[in-house]
Every structure is written in structure tokens, then in C-alpha cells.
Chain length 152, copies 2
DNA sequence: CGAAGTGTGTCAGTCTTCTGACACAAAAGA
DNA sequence: TCTTTTGTGTCAGAAGACTGACACACTTCG
């Protein structure tokens, strides 16, 4: 039952733990964002635009970890609801910069506050040093995962 | 730009980092599972069954972090392909225990090996102590997130 | 004993996201 | 310069997951 050929110990596996934590975070965020009429991906999009106005659809997609096709339909919805504006014509090349509207900015403020409260709750059991350590480790894990399979 | 009213710093936010790591892990797993004809959720289901034979659909759903409805359609597919067997009649109550078939077990063995290699790669930059620390912190985060909003 | 509450399996419909494919623009290379 | 490569936006179809709802079985409690 330790770690033989009989599978990955779910209670110990960091991969499983990562998925579990991510799932718990997602659920908690959905809970507080629902009253605001936002999904997590929509919130991610607004947050990205708040910090880096003028981002293109593809850039937003990468930042929110979805495909550019998904981000596209999401942006159309946000535009229809008046949260964002996209240039009709590409100022340069084919890239369509996106901006927050005043409405979108107000919406984002509420969402940010709600999400921040979740993050505070999530970290309530951890000290400064532990938080820094987790951040460092997570960054290392991301870097290792993105390395092409060295295989040798 | 630090942490004022202008949003959550994406470069620093542990929530964002968690999502990033989880996304990278998902991508890597999909990559190695695809040749085996398995999605991540299907693999999760098989892995759970390998360690705890006889689990019900609802229990599998909780273990794989999806709804029991989603797990149900997934189980139908796995049964159709001959990877699992479900009792036709509930031995007790309404619960339908599920078991791996020999085919499912062979498939799981390959998948487990593939996923383990991903996990090894993910942790390649971390020492024993760091891995233990991350696990402890993640568990703490999950526990805090699941606590009902104490709000005060 | 009966009633409320919880857990389970299932059907139906919808929504979100993904994969595949195309045309086009900018950058990089020969 | 021309060509190849990369990045972007978009259309169409398919797969996966979710919400809502129902019936049924077991448990708990009055």
C-alpha cells in the first residue's frame, strides 16, 4: 500500500493534493462570484484587463489558462454586457486591444474584494515564511512541468 | 502596484499560482494520457477504483472532484469499453459498486506509470523537506477553504 | 411506528470549453 | 527581396461538465 506497482497513493500524492486544493479554491471562488454574475474565467479576464489594459484576446487567453477560442466567446459576452470594449478595427495588424468600461471597473472592484477575502481565508493557517515557501515551490513545479520531456 | 485597491497582484497571488500549477499539471497529464485513450477524469476514476474497489458512482465523483452526473456518463463509457463492471442490481439499497476488469487494470498500470513520471518531473526541483512542506501547506489551505465562511 | 432528512442513481437540457480548420498580418530567415 | 514561421481572430462542430429535477432506499428522530 506504500508506493509499489499498485498505483499512486492518493493521500500522499502531491498531484492529487494540488488538484484538491485547486478544486476547493475554485468552488469557494464560484460561491462568492456568483452573486456578482461572474464566472471565474470572466473574473480572471477582468482582473487581467485591470492590471494590463489593452491586452489582446490571445494574451488574455494565456493569462486565464484557456484557449483563445474560449476567451473569444467570453469576451463577446462581456462586451455585450458592457463590461469591456474592443476596437472594431485593428489599430495595427490583426490584434484587437480590449479595455475595461467604467461598469466593468466597478464590477471588478467588487470581485477583487470578494476573491481577496477567499485568498485570505485560504492562507489563514499559514505564516509569512510558509506562504513564501509555497510560492517558491509552486513556481519550481510549474517550471519543471513546462520543460519539454527531457526523457533521458 | 503593490497591493492597494488596484487588484490582486497576479505575479504574487498564491491563488493565481495555484491555478497556474494546476493548469500546467493538467496539460502535462493530458499529454501522456492521450496516447492511452484516457482523459484525466477517466484516469482518476480508474486510479480510485484500483485502490478502493467497489466504490459507488457518487463516491468516485467526490474523489475525482466532479458531480455524480458527470461521473455517471463517464462510467457508462468505461463500462462500454470494458474497463469496469457495475453490478446490474444493487446488492444493498441503491448503491451500485464498481470494479475494474482485467483490461481496466492493465490500462491503469500504464496510466499510473505515465502519471508518476509527470509527478516526478514536477517535483524534480524540490527536496524531500520541501515536498513535505508543500503537502502540509496545501492540506492546510484545503481545510481553511472548506470551513464555512466564519465571516467574523 | 411514521416522518423528515440524507444519500444515491438517473433523465433532460444547457453551458463552457475544447479541437480542427481557415485566412490574414507581422516577424524572422535565406 | 521572397519565403517561412509565428501569432492572431474567427467559424463550426464535438466533447465534457454542470444545474435542475425526480424517484427511491436507508438513516435518524420524534
Amino acid at each position: 500500500m506504500s508506493q509499489g506497482a499498485d498505483g499512486i497513493d492518493l493521500e500522499t500524492s502531491l498531484g492529487y493534493l494540488l488538484k484538491e486544493a485547486s478544486s476547493a479554491l475554485r468552488t469557494a471562488m464560484e460561491e462568492v462570484l456568483r452573486p456578482l454574475g461572474l464566472t471565474i474565467t470572466q473574473y480572471s479576464c477582468l482582473e487581467l484587463l485591470g492590471q494590463r489594459p489593452g491586452l489582446s484576446g490571445s494574451e488574455l487567453a494565456r493569462g486565464a489558462f484557456v484557449t483563445r477560442q474560449s476567451m473569444n466567446v467570453l469576451l463577446q459576452a462581456l462586451e455585450r454586457e458592457g463590461h469591456v470594449t474592443r476596437s472594431v478595427e485593428a489599430p495595427v495588424g490583426k490584434v484587437l486591444p480590449t479595455q475595461l468600461t467604467p461598469l466593468g471597473r466597478r464590477c471588478l472592484e467588487q470581485a477583487t474584494a470578494a476573491v481577496r477575502s477567499i485568498e485570505v481565508r485560504m492562507l489563514s493557517g499559514l505564516g509569512e515564511a510558509e506562504q513564501a515557501a509555497v510560492a517558491r515551490s509552486l513556481r519550481s513545479m510549474v517550471a519543471s512541468l513546462r520543460q519539454p520531456d527531457t526523457h533521458a
